[in-house]
Symmetry: C2
Subunit: 208 residues, 2 copies
DNA sequence: GTCTATACACCGATAGAC
DNA sequence: GTCTATCGGTGTATAGAC
């Protein structure tokens, strides 16, 4: 038992160090750009020498991979919460979900680039790190399926329109709201195209 | 006169070298990623040593800048041609323009990243290099104005939807057509939202 | 003018002492 | 687990040959 709790304490400390490294990495990515991240900078801010990072991550790519997983896990939580909160109409449910994703994405360029764009050439997330991204997409699928939107093309169109607004916002007016305030209009446009009623049935299926 | 033609020949040769350097740079950007571009690689493939590039470009950033200018100049030509060719309806004119931009953009990820995304952190194009980008946007403005679409929000929405499709295509199905074939549908959706008639008046204004 | 040679400070990564 | 030392790369810059 004592041995076990000692082990736990060591594992806990290791995990804390890992988290601190990742926190610092995000901080630096926001300051200097995702691709300008250097192991020396990370290590220095954590209070180590660069090679010591290799005791916690096997490579720089592994750090990117852990950052990718963390970002999508966070996004999954945001989206799950948005999908779970009540909405007055099918469109309101869509707006809620889209707004949650937009605000989460637009608040951090570096994070969005790592999650969705190919900014780090050659970076491919591992299967484990990709899992929360898939889970997030499944939240979206379920929300659209509740409005009887199930065709892949319809889903793809929604994804493209929303991420188009995010991209435009981040690339052309970072920190502003020039494209952000177009989101609700875009959702209505999509809802029109997909035949989702403006009001009427609640967003949950088969409820009495 | 002889002096002049000699000067011209030298300038011509210099310009040819510049073009060759830029061609090689694009080639390597496509192979290895935009941010993985190195002066040594460029120089080696051109048949020089790295420092010799400084006789033609004052820095690596100047190479990016020239690439940016070239890409937008090419895009401007494509868009001008698309805007000039006749169309049967206002929507057909919009489809033509959008299709031209989509195909141009989706055919080269690195080029699209340099033109439209913030992949190279800290890179800001010079005013001269930005000019063809502005001119391209003006082609779009003029085309939309011909359909009485002049509000900034309307234009922003069009830009976001089209570039959203391009981003999704490049990020999730590079080389494929999963989002490409949604373009015409997206344009119709936009046209509906903007009140552009499906058929009727030609795309030119005030023609008898 | 254009090139080669060389140098500098930095990068990711590894080896091995402690 | 963290360190120092070091490796082959990188962008950048200068000196000097031709």
């Amino acid at each position: 038992m004592l041995v076990n709790s000692n082990r736990d304490r060591i594992a806990e400390r290791r995990e804390a160090t890992r988290r601190e490294i990742l926190d610092v990495a995000w901080q630096l990515a926001r300051e200097r750009g995702l691709s300008q991240l250097t192991l020396r900078d990370i290590a220095h801010r954590v209070g180590m020498r660069a090679p010591s990072l290799y005791s916690h991550f096997e490579s720089k790519n592994a750090i990117y991979d852990a950052m990718f997983a963390g970002a999508w896990t966070e996004c999954l939580a945001v989206m799950t919460a948005a999908a779970g909160s009540p909405a007055d109409s099918p469109r309101a449910a869509m707006r809620q979900l889209a707004r949650a994703f937009f605000d989460f994405s637009a608040s951090d360029l570096s994070r969005y680039q790592l999650m969705n764009q190919r900014t780090i050439f050659g970076f491919e997330p591992s299967a484990e790190s990709y899992a929360p991204a898939v889970a997030t997409l499944e939240v979206l699928h379920a929300a659209l399926a509740a409005q009887n939107v199930t065709r892949q093309a319809d889903i793809d169109l929604c994804v493209a329109v929303i991420s188009g607004l995010i991209d435009a916002q981040l690339a052309n007016d970072p920190g502003g709201d020039r494209w952000s305030h177009l989101l609700e209009r875009a959702i209505d446009m999509l809802a029109d195209n997909l035949g989702i009623p403006a009001r009427g049935t609640r967003s949950t299926r088969r409820s009495p």
